[in-house]
Each structure stands twice: as C-alpha cells, then as structure tokens.
C-alpha cells in the first residue's frame, strides 16, 4: 500500500517537475503555469508519456531485477495489445464526443463468429475470418445508424447494443469454449496473431548481432496493433475524413455549416471502430489460443480507461491515437509493476482509478486555456 501511495505521489510530483525543463527553452517571464498549460494544450501526449516514464522508473526500483527486463517489458506489451486496439476504436468514437460501451462485446462476438464458424461449422477460415470482420463492421454501423438516425445519445445506444451483442454471443457460441488444440487443427490462421517473434534470434540467423534486442519477444498481434495505430493516425491527421472527425467532435453545428455531412462521418467512425474491434478479436484469439465466450468482460471499460489516461478528451475534438496506446501501456505497466511488487489486485484497481481521475482533472485544466 505504501508503495502505491508513494507511486502516485511521485507521479504527481513528476508532473509538476516536468514543465520546469520545458520552460527553460524560453525566457522565464510571467505565467509559468500558463505556459505549461499552453504547452500541454499543444502537446497533450506529453503527460501520458511522462507518467509512463515515471511508472517505469518507480517499478524498476520497486521490483528490482524483475520489472526492467526485456522479457517482462515484452510481456507487458503483449498484455496491452488487445486493450490498445479496442482503445484505438474507442478513441475514434470519443473524438466525435461520443462513447462506445459495446467495443468489448463486439470483439468477443467476432472471436466467436470467426472461431466457431471455422472450427465448429467447418467453414474455410478464409471465409470465416472476413465474415468476422464483416460482423464487427456491421455492429459498428448499427451503432452509428441508431445514433444518427434516431438521434439518441451514444452512451444509451451502445449500452443497449452492448447487451444485444452480448446476447448474440451467447446464442451463437452456446457458451462453448473452443480449445487451442482444436483451433490449431482446423484454423491455425486465426492463431497467427499469437505467434512469437524473437528479433534477436531472427536477425542473428541473418548474420546480424544486435545485443540490445536480446530477450525481446513480440507477437504478430502487437505488430498488427502498431500497424492499425499508424493507419488510423494517418487517416486522422492527413486525410479530409480525419479533419471531419475532429470537426464533428469539436463543434457539430459549425461542422455542418462548413459542409461536412456529420451523419455520414459518424456512421463511418462507428463502422471503422467496429472493424478495429474485429481486428482486436483476431489478436484476442491469438492471445488465448482459442475462443472463450466468457472472456473480455471488462474490456469495454478498460478501453475507455486507456483513452482517458492517454489524454483524449471525453468532450470530443481533442486527443490522439498515440496517447491511447501510451494510455494502455500505462495501465499495463502499473498492473504488471504492482503485481511484481507483490501487491494484491485491489491495489492495482486502486491505482488505475487514481490515474483516471488525475488524467481527467488535467484534461479539464488544459481545456480552460481555450475558455
């Protein structure tokens, strides 16, 4: 417990210490705090990045010899892959000032559609897999259509569809687990995301000895997550559609007046989020080796946690994909680090709760600059 208390205290101290270095770049004239606020407004990802760094430092000290090893850090990356993917989907929706409570349910439904169709019903995996992607996208589009056509708050819509997708999962899966061995026998493609990559050994076999890579183990799922992050980042920052997403989230009325079709943008956002959930489903199958219809119960809220800690504003229009990935990493680092320090799970939950509140407080504070 004392570890935890000092952990968050250190985190806060660090937040205050961070800007000092930043302010040094300019002449230290009036409004030090104001400057910090401005800097954070401009680079919102800097806070999660600092928190992540602090977390790594704290747990390197708290769990000596255990936390800071290539293998353990590799494991943390593997552990956050799924929540990062769901977080990316969630970020898209939250940027439009919406929220999607159904992301976890869509993901599990897609694991069941992919796995059960291929393994139990014997459909070729090259049909079952795209079918899963299609179902995910369709779920997202349904969310988007209800939000835009019936003009209902996304919170309520996705609360409803969370329940509906969950029920469809039970119906289609019959609550039956698909074992890793059965999956391996009939649809090994779905497990591809769990395949390990050992960069040191791979490069060594090509005659390249890179010692800093020794001990690192990645999965194709993590690479996939990074690829999705890059693509979505590109779409958001470099395309007209991306601008529309920010505009709709920032001020839907101005966006409409500027000639943006807000409904079409929203439906596309929810649909894309659904597709990413289906990609997360693939990563999920890789991680557990098979399909477990009861798994992933906390994934919805975990994804929102990653987004919020990553600095994306719940009020829409401001945030970033990289922030979300870092947000997921922060949660992963804290959970893993606290576990390695020998703390019970309840203190992990406690710490994550503190992180959420701190993150939202900082967001509110930064928002004041535009007020």
């Amino acid at each position: 417990m004392s570890d935890d208390a000092s952990g968050s205290a250190t985190a806060e101290r660090g937040l205050q210490a961070a800007p000092a270095a930043v302010a040094n770049f300019d002449e230290p004239d009036a409004g030090f705090v104001r400057r910090l606020q401005g800097f954070l407004h401009q680079f919102p990802t800097s806070i999660p990045f600092i928190v992540l760094l602090l977390g790594v430092i704290v747990f390197t000290i708290a769990a000596p010899g255990k936390f800071l090893s290539p293998l353990n850090l590799s494991v943390v990356i593997q552990q956050v892959t799924i929540i990062s993917l769901l977080g990316i989907a969630q970020t898209l929706v939250i940027l439009t000032a919406g929220i999607d409570l159904s992301v976890g349910a869509i993901m599990i439904l897609c694991t069941v559609v992919m796995g059960r169709t291929a393994v139990v019903y014997g459909v070729p995996v090259m049909v079952a897999f795209p079918l899963g992607l299609l179902v995910g996208t369709a779920c997202g589009i349904i969310n988007g259509l209800i939000v835009t056509r019936l003009k209902l708050p996304p919170f309520i819509v996705t609360l409803g569809t969370w329940s509906i997708f969950g029920a469809l999962n039970v119906w289609y899966s019959q609550s039956e687990t698909i074992r890793q061995q059965d999956m391996e026998a009939s649809a090994p493609f779905l497990q591809l995301t769990g395949t390990l990559i050992k960069p040191f050994q791979t490069l060594q076999s090509w005659g390249l000895q890179l010692d800093f890579l020794r001990g690192w183990v990645f999965t194709w799922g993590s690479i996939l997550m990074i690829a999705v992050a890059v693509v979505v980042w590109y779409v958001l920052s470099k395309t007209a559609f991306g601008r529309h997403v920010f505009a709709v989230g920032d001020d839907p009325d101005s966006a409409r007046l500027a000639g943006i079709s807000t409904s079409r943008t929203l439906v596309a956002v929810y649909g894309l989020a659904g597709l990413i959930c289906a990609v997360a489903a693939w990563a999920f199958i890789g991680r557990i080796g098979g399909v477990s219809p009861q798994a992933g119960q906390t994934a919805n809220l975990d994804s929102i946690t990653a987004v919020v800690i990553g600095g994306t504003s719940l009020f829409g229009g401001r945030g970033s994909i990289i922030g979300t990935v870092i947000g997921a990493l922060i949660v992963g680092v804290f959970r893993n680090g606290l576990a390695l320090s020998g703390l019970e799970l309840l203190w992990q939950d406690f710490a994550v709760g503190v992180l959420i509140i701190v993150a939202v407080t900082i967001d509110q504070w930064i928002r004041k600059i535009s007020a």
Partner: protein, 339 residues
C-alpha cells in the same frame, strides 16, 4: 424522424411480444432455476439439465440469472418473480451467500421450497436443502494427486496458485486450501489463503476464472517464479490461459504440471492433450435435476447432518492415475463432462 421512431418502437414491441409469447406456455406447476449468470457454461449446462428434467416431470421451468457473478440485486428480482409466478419452489446458485438470505426467507415464508446449489448459504440451514460439490475435497484430490505424482520432487516444488478473486469467495478458498492440504502444506487458517508460510508457495495471482486474465496472471507469476513446476488453477479456462503463457516461454515441455477443478468438456480434453495433469470434475446437471425432483415431489433426500449438504460428488480425471488417489479415466471423464 417521428415516423421512424414509431417504426422502431413498434418493431421492438413486436420482437419482445413474440419472445414473451413463446415463454408463456402455461403448465400447471412451475419451478425455478436461478443461476449466477447465464453465460458461464457451468450454469448453461445446469439449465439444460433442469430443462430436460422439467420436461420429464411435466412441469414448467422459469430460468433466471444475475447479470454478473456477484449480482445479488439481480437474483433478488429473480426470487421475487418466482414468488409472483406462484412457483412450487426453486433451485438457486447464490451469488452472494449472505446477502440473499433474507429474500430466501421471504420466499420460504410464502411457501416455496428452496434448494441451494453449488455454493452453500451462510448460514447453510437458511434453505430447505443444499446440493453441492464438496469443493474442499475437489481441491484435496488434485493436491494429493500432484504430491503423489511428483514424488520426491514434491518437497522442492515451486508452486503458483491462480485463484479466483481478491475477496476470496467460498469456492475460491475451499479449492485453494483443499489443494494445499492435499499437497501436504500447512494451511494455517483453513478458510483463508495467503497466510501460509510454506516456502514451496511461490506466488498467488488472481485469474478471475478468465482465460485471458489467466494468461496475464501466469505471465506475471513467471517473472516472479521462473522455476515454477506446479500450477494450481481455480478452473479450466484459467488453466488454458496459464498454458498459453507457459508455452510462450517454452515451458510446455512437461516441466510444469497444471492442476485444475471443474470437469468441463474443454478441460477434460485438455487433460487428454496433456495440458492439464489432473482436474476434479463436478456435476452441475446432476445437481439441477436432483433439485427439481426434490421440489416437485416435495421429498428432500437425507443429508448427513455433519456435512450439512448433499455432496453431488467430485471425481479426479487424469490420464496418469496415482497410487492411493481415486480417479477416473479421461474417457469416463469425457462421458460425464459438461460445457
């Protein structure tokens, strides 16, 4: 807008209406089954067992469940529905074995027979009867099997325990402590884990009985206990998750033994595949059908007062029987498995 809203509302009403219509096929006697959730295969099979039995007895079954494990309010609503439906009685797997007691008292006062399944109430005599797996015995079986199978190596074992939840629900500590006692560990307080000082216990982690969280828990445990050679798991999904973590670091070579409890079909197949060394199998269908028999006939079977509940049995399923530990074969386990 208004029109499309009306259409949606109408469509919704039609769907719900037709669902209700299929549910209300009146038969004279109704009985209930209330489970913790409706998604866990253990409860799904329990419901299937109850449905088959209800059909055989010619009574109508109303099944109901909480929304999540631990959802007491949801189960209170389920019981209230049973009372208003005029059920003869119901079987319930309580999510909160203390908090549900007053509502059960209300139902019994209204003349309903109440049989508790799987998780005894606290106090146990708050129900008409309890049919359950002896979870301590189930844990004990896998503990003694592991000790016998490891032989001399048992005294240098490095053990990781993947438990259920931090608040240590009854089933959690019963299985955990049963396993420890069976393995030959001094459990100190038999109703609580974590207070032992045996050096062989390397780590406790929480798996929430979830396959993905089981993997995460095992990954964290591996960093703390690189030499682990025995893993206890609260259930078979957690065991399957632990196996994935072990496989990722090349420890799927037989150097680590996993034991579990449940006896679901995927779990028994994992025993067959050598993923799980041994598992204690329990019998949810039997629990449910016995309960329905007792409610409909009004005859409660004799219960050993020392136990306080009717043990529906737990059998060890393993491909490698150990001397002095009764077990059944994988083939027998597959015949009796659920889920």
């Amino acid at each position: 807008m208004g029109f499309s809203f009306l259409k949606t509302a109408l469509a919704g009403a039609v769907i719900l209406g037709s669902m209700a219509a299929t549910a209300v096929m009146a038969q004279d006697v109704t009985v209930g089954l209330i489970t913790k959730t409706e998604t866990n295969p253990f409860f799904v099979k329990m419901r299937e067992g109850a449905e088959a039995k209800a059909k055989e007895l010619g009574v109508k079954l109303i099944a109901c469940a909480g929304k999540f494990d631990g959802d007491n309010d949801g189960q209170v609503a389920c019981i209230e529905n049973q009372i208003s439906a005029g059920s003869k009685g119901f079987a319930i797997v309580p999510s909160d074995s203390k908090a549900i007691v007053p509502t059960i008292a209300k139902a019994r006062a209204a003349g309903l027979k109440v049989i508790v399944l799987d998780t005894p109430l606290d106090p146990m005599d708050a129900a008409d009867a309890t049919f359950a797996t002896d979870n301590r015995k189930a844990g004990n079986l896998i503990g003694s099997w592991a000790a016998k199978t490891m032989g001399d190596k048992a005294k240098d074992a490095s053990i990781v325990l993947l438990d259920l939840a931090t608040n240590q629900p009854t089933v959690d500590y019963l299985r955990d402590q049963g396993f420890m006692a069976g393995f030959g560990i001094d459990v100190k307080d038999p109703n609580k884990y974590g207070d032992e000082d045996d050096k062989r216990i390397c780590d406790h982690e929480i798996s929430q009985g979830d396959q993905e969280k089981g993997r995460t828990a095992m990954e964290n445990a591996l960093t703390k206990c690189p030499n682990v050679n025995l893993v206890y798991t609260i259930n078979e999904p957690a065991a399957a998750g632990a196996w994935e973590a072990l496989k990722a670091v090349g420890k799927d070579d037989g150097s680590v033994m996993i034991v579990s409890v449940d006896g679901g079909c995927p779990g028994v197949k994992n025993v067959q595949a050598g993923v799980i060394g041994a598992t204690s199998q329990q019998y949810p269908l039997k629990m449910a059908s016995m309960a329905l028999d007792a409610i409909v006939s009004g005859k409660i079977p004799d219960i050993d007062p020392k136990m306080g509940f009717l043990d529906t049995g737990a059998q060890l399923v393993t491909a490698k029987p150990a001397d002095g530990v009764p077990s059944i074969s994988v083939d027998e386990g597959l015949k009796l498995c659920w889920g």
